[in-house]
Symmetry: C2
Subunit: 367 residues, 2 copies
């Protein structure tokens, strides 16, 4: 069962929760906008469904609602920032602002972040650059759910990469993907529906192929993009490694199997080599390479050529990265966002715990 | 059948060929070193087997042996260079030198290159940064062999990405991979052996799955990393797109289906939107983020943890990106490089055409 809500209803609720945590009004508004961009774009696992998880980490003291985010090392084109255990939803946009400021000065800006937390969808932060006629890049490490090629251990997170590239008249290119074959959210859907998962998504505790959607609870692991060696899993493993190193080794965050877990009930790893989660954020001014008009006109040609490619048998449209999410955002902003009962109930319980009037915040039900 | 040669023999031959093309002595030496780094590292498709192809492009006037490589646009952290139709083997190292010079000044350097040609293996250029305690990044676009997810057309090249990351005591991290499920060289091996290819590597002209190793000659296409949508091919498609845009749209090279083909017999695409092939080269000083000693000690911890991970059933070692290529390089430098008869015969014919004494250059046969 699902219930449908307007974006404004969910936003009012999320903002009220962040305010109760002690965020400033502007931070609560920003955290809400970043969090709900996931729901709007159809990445339901990273949106309001995670709000309860953020609150639990705040209760444990692992999230600081009023962080003193500061630059601890910098050059004209780089910085490392200490997120002071802030919400990644707040820390990452600040990192992108610094990256864009540096790009304005010297062409590009690159910010590695330590001591942060889950930052929502990578795509939000990358897309911030589009308004400034810049290419935006965002990645983050995450707690270990993924086994390297040939390994029986979980050593990497789903470590997503987002790249947003502006265009002229055409809608921009916005890639945002986990460096695994399938995101963990897809396994959760299979668990809810009591179905198996395709081969190539996960392995069991010994490293054998499996179709068991519950395998991660029994020592199994997600597989890197490519699934197995013959299909290129060493490439997905390399990509996940690069994200971990740029986000966490370069900043002084905790990396690999020591990345802090998101679920509050999972104990923190022992002997953590750094502080918190890490992100890596980049901005490149397009006119640091070519006159912006030349770039945009070539980019429009690129986008139109790919969007108008001849479809394969059984398909009627070729998409560019970000097209489906853009269509989803438009639809959900108009028609509302459906929450499954589990999420709806979690939010009701959260409202009670935080002494919020759930019915008032959700009063204009869409159905 | 194969014949074995020392690195020095192959290098003497390749350098003699580049000199005959009119390269300066130092350019011929550099082009040789870059080209043969592929043979040493086990990427046979990109090494001396391609020498004949470079010569054919030079005969057609598409490669300029004495290019005037110049910066046409720059900021403190960026540049675009015009390769003047030079060998990519020469142009890309020059781009990396510029990137590293900028990184010395402002922390990072990013160079997009137009009007270039095939640059050998991406890993060579990325690894140049290691000696300077920098992270090196190299990518290139290439002629279209790959179909986007849901497309029946070839619109992208195999568009490789290389990332080299220095460490302290441990051997460095060196990723270098095509953004496809399998490289074209693997299909060529299957063609030679008259075997089929695994599902997931290629599709036929209509976009259906195929195991035919010859399918690219009949309108088929390679598949992006991930193979099909359910296994994440839209992620490999996005990666290949990013490489194409950074390398060619950002520089003014020709992109997508208009990238110039490597085989001289393939006609140039019509209405090319830019000049030549494009590359994208980056360098980031590690001490632009953290004190180098801190980074290196954490990076050693990272590398040792992954190399000592528990292997999956049926495997006895977990590797980090670049480990197998490093072992191959050591072995081939000692034991020599085997050439299949086809390549050996091509080189003999090339020697005759260029009036080189093949037997003298190869006189110290290893077997």
């Amino acid at each position: 069962m699902e219930s449908n809500h307007t974006y404004q209803q969910l936003a009012a609720f999320a903002k009220a929760v962040f305010l109760k945590m002690g965020c400033t009004d502007s931070d609560a508004a920003l955290a809400t906008k970043v969090l709900l961009s996931a729901d709007l774009r159809g990445i339901d696992s990273h949106g309001i469904a995670r709000l309860v998880g953020y609150v639990r980490l705040w209760e444990l003291g692992r999230i600081n609602a009023t962080p003193n985010i500061k630059i601890i090392h910098e050059t004209p084109s780089t910085a490392v920032i200490d997120g002071d255990r802030g919400l990644g939803l707040i820390v990452a946009p600040r990192a992108m602002e610094i990256a864009m400021e540096k790009a304005k000065q010297v062409g590009t800006g690159w910010v590695s972040v330590k001591n942060s937390n889950h930052f929502g969808i990578a795509g939000y932060h990358a897309m911030m650059a589009l308004e400034q006629e810049m290419i935006g890049i965002a990645m983050t490490n995450a707690s270990a759910l993924v086994a390297p090629t040939y390994a029986a251990e979980k050593l990497l997170g789903t470590n997503p990469i987002a790249v947003a590239i502006p265009a002229g008249e055409a809608a921009p290119f916005v890639a945002d993907f986990a460096t695994t074959t399938a995101a963990n959210g897809k396994l959760e859907i299979a668990q809810r529906n009591n179905t198996t998962i395709p081969l190539g998504w996960a392995q069991d505790a010994a490293g054998n192929p499996t179709q068991d959607a519950n395998i991660l609870k029994n020592g199994g692991a997600l597989l890197p993009l490519g699934s197995e060696k013959e299909q290129g899993s060493h490439k997905g493993y390399a990509l996940g490694s690069i994200v971990d190193i740029f986000s966490a080794v370069l900043s002084g965050a905790s990396f690999g199997p020591w990345a802090p877990p998101f679920p509050a009930y999972v104990p923190m790893p022992e002997n953590m080599p750094g502080e918190g989660l890490g992100h890596f954020i980049g901005a490149m001014r397009i006119d640091a390479f070519r006159p912006a008009a030349d770039f945009k006109s070539n980019m429009d040609l690129w986008l139109n050529r790919f969007r108008n490619a001849t479809p394969a048998a059984g398909h009627d449209q070729v998409y560019v990265a970000g097209d489906l999410e853009r269509a989803m955002e438009k639809e959900r902003m108009q028609k509302g966002i459906a929450l499954v009962d589990g999420v709806q109930n979690d939010l009701k319980a959260l409202a009670e715990k935080m002494d919020l009037n759930f019915d008032r915040l959700f009063k204009i039900k869409m159905e």
